[in-house]
């Protein structure tokens, strides 16, 4: 590896947005045939850096060199010309087109006025075989799996002659099996002399495939080193800048008691009338954390919305401590003892332009002691906020700053403070640690465990298996709106969960794993 030439160099890249410096003199060197991981938390500046490489943004200062030549990448087409291709998190495919048509879109080979799809299909087939992608060029994009669609995106960049491929969090939408396959593909690309830049914040993936890792923290490139010989623990340390125990919250075995929330045959239809949650039945018991594992978009959001009254359920029944709360209004549900840490904290969890104190009072402002006869008591509201800020260690100047002034982790702590302070019997935590640093993740996990130990029923919805395995006592896997299996967290494996997430029943998954 050491003898390979450097194909890409980014030198002292600075990107300034007004007063905010998203990239502060970042340096990056990528060699030929190298898988180079960019490791950093959400908001660390990885995507900004890559957008400058793919021509979407221009650096405020600094140079980009391709094969030693200084270049200006001022448009995505210029990036393609320079051999830079990006595989986005959200695929840009037309469902009604075949794989070939999707790939040649924008650079169609022609015979006079006629499209020459056949030649293109042959070339795509060849590329697909060369890199072990196993893509059928004649399949419709809408008919193939998410993992295949991603491969089509990879083929698209290869077809356009990319030598440097950027992957923006490529595993976020994949099942564990698909992730494994993608890792093999990445290695294949590198072996063929392509350079791969892998944007991620998942340490496992870096350990699995990357040769080199550059760590970005708060807009600065902190360090760059070969992955071999570095442990996940060390990577995490460098990423957050202090020593943390990686995803292993201390907890005693659970002692679940009475059923708190009972869901039976719940069906939820989305705006199009499609059943996104189908006949779902699940019980939540006091003193237990139930993890809902699954890939994003398998009905988790709608399930939560139906439980909290934000979306109507088409049929089925939800009871909280024996009381029917099906299709009740959000406030009635909240008041009957449900705490909800929402998935999207900016959209649902916070009034970003209101003060932190007002946000902390968002669920209680209308009753005593926060208000009397419709008149708010700001002394009480602010004092209560100060109390919770202290108790939940929310880092802020004071309680009167707008919620938008807080960092993501502290915003989340404020929401958690608000939701847990109400002493709800049933706590829903949806993606509670998304985009947070390891320190905040640890804290939030501990809070959820504390709730469990205090005899609450906790539901943790997460796309991160590590998080589910770490915190949950019992795991229900959701796939296409159905629970495919409920397993004990101590008696399952990532492989088993992966098969369940892919839609297999528990029996099928166990049979397959036993057969291997």
């Amino acid at each position: 590896m050491a003898d390979q030439p450097i194909v890409l160099e980014m030198r002292d890249i600075v990107k300034q947005f007004g007063e905010f410096r998203a990239n502060d003199q970042i340096n990056l060197q990528v060699k030929r045939g190298q898988i180079h991981a960019l490791l950093g938390e959400n908001g660390a500046g990885k995507s900004t850096l890559m957008n400058q490489l793919s021509g979407l943004l221009q650096p405020t200062a600094g140079d980009i060199l391709i094969n030693g030549q200084k270049v200006i990448v001022d448009s995505p087409s210029k990036a393609a010309e320079l051999g830079i291709g990006m595989v986005h998190q959200h695929f840009m495919l037309i469902d009604a087109f075949t794989v070939t048509e999707n790939i040649i879109l924008g650079s169609e080979p022609v015979n006079g006025l006629k499209l020459n799809t056949k030649a293109a299909a042959t070339e795509i087939k060849k590329l697909s075989e060369q890199y072990g992608l196993d893509v059928d060029p004649n399949a419709l994009a809408g008919d193939i799996s998410v993992g295949m669609q991603q491969r089509v995106e990879i083929l698209k960049t290869l077809y356009r002659g990319a030598d440097i491929l950027i992957f923006d969090e490529p595993t976020a939408v994949l099942t564990p099996q698909e992730i494994d396959e993608l890792m093999t593909i990445l290695k294949g690309l590198a072996a063929e002399g392509k350079s791969v830049i892998l944007i991620t914040h998942k340490l496992d993936e870096i350990k699995a495939v990357a040769d080199q890792v550059t760590v970005i923290r708060r807009g600065k490139s902190i360090d760059s080193f070969p992955v071999a010989g570095v442990s996940s623990q060390e990577l995490a340390d460098i990423m957050v800048g202090r020593s943390v125990s990686l995803f292993s919250t201390e907890k005693e075995p659970a002692h679940p008691t009475d059923t708190i929330l009972s869901v039976s045959d719940l069906t939820v239809k989305d705006a199009r009338g499609v059943e996104v949650v189908k006949n779902l039945s699940l019980d939540f018991r006091a003193g237990e954390v139930v993890g809902i594992a699954g890939i994003d978009g398998n009905g988790q959001s709608e399930f939560i919305s139906a439980l909290t009254g934000l979306m109507p359920s088409a049929s089925g029944k939800v009871t909280l401590k024996g009381k029917n709360i099906t299709n009740k209004k959000p406030r009635q549900i909240t008041e009957s003892g449900v705490g909800h840490i929402p998935e999207d904290r900016h959209r649902f969890g916070l009034e970003l332009d209101m003060t932190l104190a007002e946000n902390i009072a968002l669920q209680t402002y209308y009753k005593a002691p926060m208000s009397k006869a419709g008149v708010l008591d700001y002394d009480k509201i602010n004092a209560h906020a100060r109390e919770l800020i202290e108790k939940f260690d929310v880092r802020t100047v004071n309680e009167l700053v707008p919620a938008s002034a807080l960092s993501g982790g502290n915003q989340q702590k404020a929401i958690i403070a608000r939701e847990l302070d109400r002493d709800a019997d049933f706590v829903i935590a949806a993606q509670p640690t998304r985009g947070l640093d390891v320190g905040a993740i640890e804290y939030i996990h501990q809070q959820l465990i504390n709730q469990r130990d205090a005899g609450k029923a906790v539901m943790l919805v997460s796309f991160e298996l590590d998080e589910i395995l770490n915190v949950a006592d019992r795991i229900a896997v959701i796939s296409h709106g159905e629970i495919t299996g409920v397993v004990d967290a101590n008696e399952t494996s990532k492989n088993e969960l992966g098969l369940l997430m892919a839609g297999m029943s528990l029996a099928e998954a166990r049979a397959q794993l036993a057969g291997e």
């Binding site: 905010f20 934000l310 649902f348 332009d353 669920q363 402002y365 419709g374 008149v375």
Partner: protein
């Protein structure tokens, strides 16, 4: 934090006014007038006598009310262009009530009339609020259209009133001052101006609305719904009900403004060629006040000085009254272009910082080190 938003809204509004006055001055210069004489005569005409001061305060009355109305709707995420129509129905309803009940004691008829005017405006505001909450109909479109419905419906109503109430086909008889919001004390204090109890109503309403918006659960809900309807719904608020309530309050204030016009200023109803201008001017006042209730008072004062003073300009300096409209329009333009003003402020700051840095660090340091040097210096 983004620096561009860090400047006080007061500073930005002040600069908008300044630029607006500058544009007016340039136009005066180009047209061969002396801008200094022009503006001096404007201020003298507006504030030179107690009569004129009274007229300025009188002119502020409906502006304060409509601006407050605009602000309440805006807080809930509505752009209420229907203030003018809401003023007009408030004017007609309140004045008509007194016209047909002249036998009633004014101690009863006038408060009732004011309430009826306010309710008429409230209904007129609630309708577009409900249409959007229920059907998603854009209030921008519906309120503009409702202004026409109010205008022509109102005109038809006035022209259809019994003959004995009319002086011409387009104008009702004038109410006796006892049957109105006029108060001798206020008129005498201001040299016989048309200043009336409406001004007191406006001030009380402004304080009340401030209290409702900042200190009550209703105001909390209106603000929450306006800023982030999803989070409001999550917190158990009814986004629809709150939005309709806010538009109702907005219309109510506009209706009150109409009542002060009919019962305080003109003492009659006459058919209009367009929905009352105070409805539109109120929007401008609210925009200049940029969300501040105290700001509404001063913005209304400024607009009133401009409009009352503008009337005296031609006499004192020969500058045509239309020029005042240009100044007002320029101020509104610069308020709308506040981003431009903020941009200029950022630029001034940066240049300033560079100058400071150069002085402190000598000429060899430049570029991205400026900020650091500046920080160390402070």
């Amino acid at each position: 934090m983004n620096k561009i938003n860090s400047y006080g809204t007061g500073l930005v509004a002040g600069l908008a006014v300044f630029f607006g006055l500058m544009v007016g001055a340039i136009i005066m210069l180009v047209s061969g007038f002396n801008p200094v004489t022009g503006y001096v005569s404007l201020v003298q005409s507006a504030l030179g006598s107690s009569l004129n001061i009274g007229e300025v305060l009188r002119s502020m009355t409906p502006l304060i009310l409509t601006a407050a109305g605009f602000l309440v709707a805006q807080s809930a995420g509505f752009f209420n262009i229907g203030l003018a129509g809401q003023v007009w129905v408030g004017w007609i309803a309140s004045t008509w009530f007194v016209l047909v009940n002249q036998s009633m004691t004014p101690w009863l008829s006038i408060p009732l009339a004011v309430i009826i005017g306010a309710l008429a405006g409230a209904l007129m505001g609630a309708l577009p609020g409900w249409l959007r909450a229920q059907f998603g109909a854009s209030e921008v479109i519906t309120t503009i259209m409702l202004n026409y419905i109010a205008l022509y419906g109102g005109n038809a109503f006035v022209q259809g009133l019994p003959k004995k109430l009319m002086t011409t086909t387009d104008m009702t008889v004038t109410l006796p001052t006892e049957d109105s919001l006029r108060w001798d004390l206020l008129a005498n204090l201001t040299g016989g101006s048309r200043l009336n109890i409406g001004f007191i109503i406006a001030i009380v309403a402004l304080v009340a609305i401030w209290f409702i918006m900042k200190r009550t659960t209703l105001g909390f809900e209106i603000r929450a719904v306006g800023l982030n309807p999803d989070a409001a719904r999550y917190a158990g608020m009814s986004a629809k009900r709150t939005a309709v309530t806010a538009m109702t309050i907005s219309g109510l204030l506009a209706g009150l403004a109409g009542a002060t016009e009919g019962l305080g200023t003109y003492l009659n109803i006459f058919s209009q060629t367009g929905a009352p201008q105070v409805g539109y001017d109120g929007m401008a006042v609210a925009l200049l006040a940029s969300g501040s209730f105290l700001g509404i008072f001063f913005a209304a004062l400024l607009f009133s000085i401009l409009s009352v003073g503008g009337l005296g300009m031609p006499l004192a300096s020969g500058v045509p009254t239309e020029l005042v409209s240009v100044v007002t329009a320029s101020i509104i333009f610069f308020i709308g272009a506040n981003y431009l003003i903020r941009l200029i402020l950022v630029k001034i700051d940066e240049d300033d910082a560079k100058q400071k840095a150069k002085k402190l660090a000598g000429p060899q340091k430049k570029g991205r080190n400026d900020k650091k040097v500046e920080k160390e210096a402070e």
